[in-house]
Structures are given as C-alpha cells and as structure tokens.
C-alpha cells in the first residue's frame, strides 16, 4: 500500500511535461501527494504541515530544467529539504578531558535500549575506547542479565547491583574510574513518557552521573507519538542525540524527522539489524529517501562498491546496456551480489522494488536453482543462449536437477531482460526507457522499465 512517491506523482507529472515553470496549482497538487507520503511514513502531522509549507515556497516558480521532468525536480526539492531537516549539524563525539566520558541511554520500553547500549559499547570499542556498561534497568525482569550476556559477546565488562538504580549508576561511575575505563554507558529502565515517577528516576540517575551525552533511543516504527515522547524526554534530560532503532524493518521511519524537528537534536546512530555489528552513524540523505519511499540507494551503492570489482562491474554494466550481457556475466554478478548480504536486505534498499519481491519469502537460497541451471550449460551455450534446442534444454534440466520448463523460463526471461536493457541503454541521457516493455509474469516491474532506477540514464536527480 505504500506506493513510492515517484509512482504517486507520475500521473500529475505527465500533464506537466514541456512546461517551463510550475504554477501554484501544480505544486499544490503534488504537495497533496507528498503530504500523504510523509503521513504514511509516520512523520508527525504538525511537522508535515511546516515542511510542506517550506517546500511550497521553494517549488513555486522554480525554473524547470530541460533534462529533468517536473516531478523529479519537485522530488529533488523535497529530498533536499528533508535531508537538510534531518541533518544540519551532525553529532561529533568529543571525549571528556577527565575520563570517563559518560553516556546515558533513555527511551520507552521496548525501543531497544539494552541491545543498543551494547551496540554503542562495541562502536566505542571500535574507536579505540575502553567502555564499561552499567545496567541501571532494575525494573524489567532479567534486563541486567541480558546486558551481561551481550557484554560477554562484545567483551565489555558490565557493572550492576540490585537495589537502587541511582546508586548503581553512581557506583558504576566509581567503578569505571577504578578500572580506568574511559567510556561509561548507562542503560536505564524503559518508561512511559508520561510516567512522572519513572521520569524522576532517570533524572536522578542523570544528576548522579552527569552524562556528557544523553541519547534518546527511538523505535523507527513509532507513529505520531514520537513527538510527545521526544519532548517529554528532552524536557527532563536535555537530549544530545537520538539512536534510531529497528531500521531493518520496512517502517519508513518518519519519526526520525519528527524528533529532529521538534527537539532540534541530530539523529546520531542508526541500528539496522539484530546483530551487534549492525549499527552505524546516521546518514540524513538516505533517511530522506526512505521517508519518501525512494529506497536506500546510497547505502546500496556503498555496499555494492565493497563487493563488486569496480572495473569488471563497469564493463558488465556497459555490456548490459548494449545488450551484450551473457549468462556468464550474469552468473558472475549474481555471485558478487550474494556477498552483499541477505537478499531481502538488498531488495529492500532498492527503490520502487515490486512488493512481491520485497515480501518475506525471499531466502538466500532462491537463486540457487538459477545458478544450477547456468552452471549446467556449456561455455558456448552461456554466450549464445539461442543455441539451446530441445535436447540441450533437457540435458541442462537433468544436469541441474530442475525441469525443462524452468530452463525455458530462465532463457526466455534472460532474453527479455536483454531486450529491455538494450532499450534503456539506447535511450541515452534525459530520456527514459519505454514503459511496460518486457512482460515479466509473476510480478510487475514497477520502477524498472518505466520509472528508471536512480542513477540510470535519465534516472533520478540528486544521486549521480
């Protein structure tokens, strides 16, 4: 149900082709769609209102460039605006001159404080620091136990004692000094923003340890309530930055924008998976794209750069666009792709990816039969799939443990892809591939034939 913003704007944009300037009416029409996209991403209603007003000012009368279509230009403006809103100052950690540097984590129940305390400890470790974790969540049964287990996994000591969380935090600070640890991370109990007693407790803890940094942990799936939560914590604790968790789901994470806008503090870190290593500093530009439903293109490029051989990929991409891409190239690139991590993650980062492909059913072994089929072909067959007659296909099916039908479909789809890519390649900059050319059964290739991938010839602005 979450159509990408570019898909939403398509209808409006068609009418605007060839015009030199956007009128107020055009912009308002587009802003309605942009507003809906932001609301579906859980950006707070009030924030949506101010943001759309700003975008409106910028967009009206903006001169349209020839190369980009008006819709893309509006998206560019929106995306730049959101990036600016999410970013601005980025948080740079400066360490206390008298160690330890104290970091306090606060947030609602279930936002992921304990897990992220450990993730943050691991991050500090990777920066060459020696952290100590303090378990001051004495509320939730076994929370300290959880922290200890995580501490063992990352080889960071954990301090906690039963009784009073404020005393525990204080003792933890003394312990850090005694052990010479230079970063102290204090995990606190989850609380409801409106629970005065619990807010008072975390305020006491904060007073006792005088943190250099106080991070608010917020779940990316949070809805409109993110604003009141952030306001309440900021009023009590003076938040320095936000840790956004569960970004590995499909929530668009509008909460990030709301919180940044309301308390004016940056999103410092993002947690992107269950593994303790899946934690990184926050990239505002990527989040802007995500909120607008444009996928996480930049992350994808970065990951891809790490695993694809640069020159080889360049050559392969050129061949792909010229229609000279062979099954051999395909196999090679597919293997490189597999190194990028779980397929579902990679798919999730692609903009405009059809819903069927984003679904939960894609395990990492789905490509195996495809590999098996190609591996069962001779070198010549891989270069010239048109050689494949009935008996060759039967042999390949037997050799790969698949059926002739599967081999047929693979060959057919490969040829269709070749045709499609050739057309895209021939389009050249500023033009788009024709829509709906290659029929692919089982799913609609929205975002691939017609819209163009970001970075494709004639693709998205702002990314190349």
């Amino acid at each position: 149900m979450f159509d990408s913003l570019s898909a939403r704007l398509e209808g409006i944009v068609k009418r605007l082709r060839g015009r030199g300037r956007l009128t107020e009416a055009d912009v308002d029409e587009m802003l309605t769609e942009i507003r809906t996209a932001m609301l579906e991403a859980d950006v707070n209603v009030g924030v949506v209102r101010t943001v759309t007003a700003r975008i409106r000012e910028q967009a009206i009368g903006a001169r349209l460039s020839e190369a980009l279509d008006p819709g893309q230009q509006v998206i560019k403006i929106v995306s730049q605006q959101l990036t600016a809103l999410l970013g601005g100052e980025t948080l740079k950690i400066s360490y206390a001159s008298h160690p330890p540097t104290v970091v306090l984590l606060a947030g609602l129940q279930g936002s992921g404080k304990t897990t992220n305390a450990a993730k943050l400890a691991r991050w500090f470790k990777s920066q060459g620091r020696q952290p100590l974790l303090v378990g001051a969540d004495l509320q939730r049964p076994a929370a300290v136990e959880q922290l200890r287990t995580l501490g063992r996994q990352i080889d960071v000591p954990v301090f906690s004692e039963p009784g009073d969380p404020v005393k525990t935090a204080k003792r933890g600070l003394a312990e850090a000094r005694r052990l010479g640890r230079d970063v102290l991370l204090v995990d606190t109990a989850g609380r409801l923003a409106i629970d005065n007693e619990m807010m008072e407790q975390v305020r006491q803890i904060s007073k006792a340890v005088q943190p250099n940094y106080t991070f608010l942990v917020i779940d990316a799936m949070t809805g409109q309530d993110a604003v009141s939560v952030a306001e309440a914590f900021h009023a009590t604790l003076a938040i320095d930055g936000v840790i956004l968790t569960k970004l590995d789901g499909d929530a668009r994470g509008g909460a990030a924008l709301s919180v940044k806008e309301v308390i004016g503090r940056p999103i410092a870190f993002a947690s992107t998976g269950e593994k303790l290593t899946e934690f990184e500093q926050f990239h505002p530009d990527r989040m802007a794209g995500r909120i607008l439903g444009m996928g996480d293109v930049l992350s994808l490029i970065e990951q891809a750069e790490q695993v694809f051989d640069k020159d080889q990929a360049q050559i392969a991409a050129e061949r792909l666009l010229e229609g000279e891409f062979t099954l051999d190239d395909f196999l090679e690139q597919m293997q490189a792709l597999k190194k990028m991590g779980p397929l579902s993650n990679v798919l999730g980062m692609m903009p405009g990816m059809p819903k069927e492909l984003k679904g939960a059913e894609i395990g990492d072994d789905v490509l195996r039969p495809v590999e098996a089929i190609i591996n069962s072909m001779t070198a010549l067959e891989r270069r010239k799939p048109e050689l494949l007659n009935g008996s060759r296909r039967t042999r390949i099916a037997n050799g790969s443990g698949t059926s002739v039908g599967e081999v047929n479909r693979l060959v057919k789809q490969f040829q269709e892809m070749q045709k499609m890519m050739k057309r895209v390649g021939a389009g050249g900059p500023g033009k788009k591939g024709k829509k709906g050319s290659a029929p692919r059964r089982g799913f609609e290739g929205r975002g691939f034939e017609g819209r163009g991938l970001p970075g494709m010839p004639g693709g998205f602005p702002g990314f190349n």
């Binding site: 136990e145 309530d225 569960k246 590995d248 490029i301 991409a317 690139q333 792709l337 990028m340 798919l347």
Partner: protein, 356 residues
C-alpha cells in the same frame, strides 16, 4: 559515485528472483482445524479502559474543544478534525474514509452543528469496530489435549510481559497453565519469562539459548498433555516481519504447535500502541506466516494492543480491524497483572474522543 552498480544489481536480482518466484509453487498444507464449544474468558473485574487511558488527554481532545466552540462547520473544522485523527495514528486512508462519509452528510444538511459532527464521527468510529468476536478461545473437555495460545510480534512490543499477565489471569480463573519459553534468541528472555512463571504460579518449559523454538513449543505441549494442563502459553522471539528466515522459523513453530496433542486456539499478535502505520504491515505479514491453510486467511486470531497507558493512542487498530479483519482482544494499560484487560471498542473510541 558510480551509478552502474545498482543498475547491475537490480537487473540481476529482478531477473534471478523473478524466475524463482515464478517457478515456485507453494505446497498445499491441509490442516483440519475446528472449534468445538468455544468459551469466552474475560478477565474478571477489569478496570475501565477509559479511566486508564485518560492519564493523557484524549488524542482528539484539544481539537475537539476548539471545534465544539465554533458556530458552524468550516474548512478549518475539517482540517482540524483530520489532523486530530491522524495524530492518533488512525492513518491517511481510514481518516479519508471516515471524513468522506461525514462530508456527504454535512453537504445534505443532515449535520449542521459541530457537536453533531463530533457525535456522528464517534458513532462511525465505534461502528467500524463493532461486531467482532473478541473472546479468547478455550476448548474445554479433553484433558489430554491442551489449548495452545501462541504469542507473536516484532521486537520490544511486550510479548513476554503479556504472557506473564495472561498466565496470572488464567490461573485466577482456575486454569492450569504452562509457559513455553520459545524466545531462545534474545539474551535472558528465558529468565524474564521464568520470573513471570514464578509470580503467577505457572509451570514453564525452557530450551537452550539459541536452540530450536519449535522443539521447545512441542515439548511444552507434550508435557502439558501428560500432566493434564489446560493451557499452554507459547512465547516466541520478537522478529521483524521483513526477515524471511525468521518468519520461516515462525511458520515452523506454528506448524509444529499443531502437530502434537495440543490445539492452537489462539495466535495472538502483540502490537505496541506507539506503532505507526507500520502496524498494518506487521499484522499482514504475521497473519500470513501463521496461516496453515491455503489462501489469504490470516493465521492471527487476535491482537493484543500493549502500552496504551502512555501518550500513544493506538489508532492503527482501525486499519488493522477493518482492512485485515483482525479483532483486538486485549489491551495493556499498565504494569500490574490486572492492567491487561479485554478490549472494549465503545470505551476505546470514547477515550480517544475524550475532551479535557
């Protein structure tokens, strides 16, 4: 920055995965599932949702005060009403549906006063939630065949805590309860559940950390059957609905739970009231993963809405109930055992609309 990599990756992926999905034929999994004498088991002496939710003013409250004091229904009325509903996480689509109906009635002069508009809205919202069966199903009679309630949901929504409270309430109703510590992933989840078992006087079957959750659930059901225990409450690890491997694991847990002597009479999806529009995706995916039948029917039998005592309003349940047909059965409104209560749509809407 070189733009060629994503093109390549996309082409390769779409092509490769497309072939596979196309080829895939999901095997039919026939399962007989029938309900004998379904019995309702509401928690006794539940505190009123309204009074508990009123810790924070009703979501619509502020806007409604302003609306009520105006003399007529203007463009601004609609805008404020819309924003108030959106602020409660009701969602763009449902809000549009709600307001479209009201706009027509205002146009026909059927509604003229702001106060009429508000009460019409309240009725409409309540109607949307009316008619669902919100009872927790227990099939009584066969002592060898325990009822199994499976608790599923994303991370951090309060599954384990909910199980603890349900266990205590069911114990108070005189049932024998056994917990299956199926969250073998999160560090110390088993310890947390054990604490709840001790508090509520339920038995518990535990596995090894990192072990197979299906095995734990299966063992628990067999144990319950042997000891003539009425009800097995099966915990599962929190998982994001986008993780295919973890959802497959859940699929297996659901299958295995139906294999032994137990009868799975509830699959309860636990959702955090602070959840925004993603709640709908959660409900859809968990419903799909726990569905043993062919077809689109959801495997989830009910929703538990937790943490409704905060400032969040849980408006996402309108979309979940009407678009997916999943009834909210329980709501969590506090930390104590009695703070898990049956969901009452009238009170829920009333609390949302509460003024001041």
């Amino acid at each position: 920055m070189n733009p060629t990599y994503p093109i390549l990756a996309a082409a390769v992926l779409v092509f490769g995965v497309g072939v596979v999905l196309w080829n895939r034929r999901r095997a039919a999994k026939p399962v007989a599932f029938s309900v004998a004498d379904a019995e309702s088991s509401a928690a006794a002496q539940a505190p009123a949702l309204r009074s508990r939710m009123s810790k924070a003013r009703g979501a619509l409250g502020g806007a409604l005060v302003r609306l009520g004091t105006r003399s007529g229904i203007t463009q601004q009325t609609w805008q404020e009403l819309e924003e108030a509903l959106l602020l409660a996480d009701v969602g763009v689509r449902v809000v549009d549906e709600l307001l479209t109906g009201l706009r027509a009635r205002v146009k026909d002069k059927e509604i003229v006063e702001p106060n009429q508009l508000l009460s019409a809205l309240q009725t409409q919202m309540t109607d949307r939630l009316a008619g669902a069966d919100r009872s927790l199903r227990v099939i009584a009679g066969d002592a060898d065949s325990p009822n199994v309630w499976l608790f599923v949901g994303v991370n951090g929504v309060g599954k384990t805590t909910t199980i603890g409270k349900v266990a205590a309430q069911q114990r108070n109703l005189g049932r024998k309860v056994l917990m299956a510590a199926g969250d073998t992933f999160r560090a110390a989840a088993v310890e947390q559940l054990t604490t709840w078992a001790e508090r509520s006087g339920a038995e518990i079957v535990r596995g090894n950390e990192g072990g197979d959750p299906s095995a734990v659930v299966f063992d628990a059901i067999e144990r319950a059957s042997a000891r003539k225990i009425d009800l097995v409450l099966a915990d599962t690890a929190g998982r994001l609905h986008t993780k295919s491997n973890l959802m497959d694991e859940l699929r297996k847990v659901r299958r295995v739970a139906a294999k032994g002597r137990g009868r799975v009479t509830e699959v309860l999806l636990v959702i955090d009231a602070t959840t925004g529009q993603n709640g709908l995706a959660q409900a859809r995916e968990f419903g799909e993963a726990t569905n043993l039948h062919d077809g689109d029917q959801s495997g989830v039998t009910g929703v538990v809405l937790t943490k409704l005592d905060g400032s969040a309003k849980g408006g996402i349940v309108f979309a979940i109930e009407t678009e997916l047909g999943l009834p909210v059965k329980l709501v969590g409104i506090g930390e104590t055992i009695d703070d898990l209560i049956p969901f009452d749509p009238v009170e829920f809407v009333d609390a949302l609309m509460r003024v001041g």
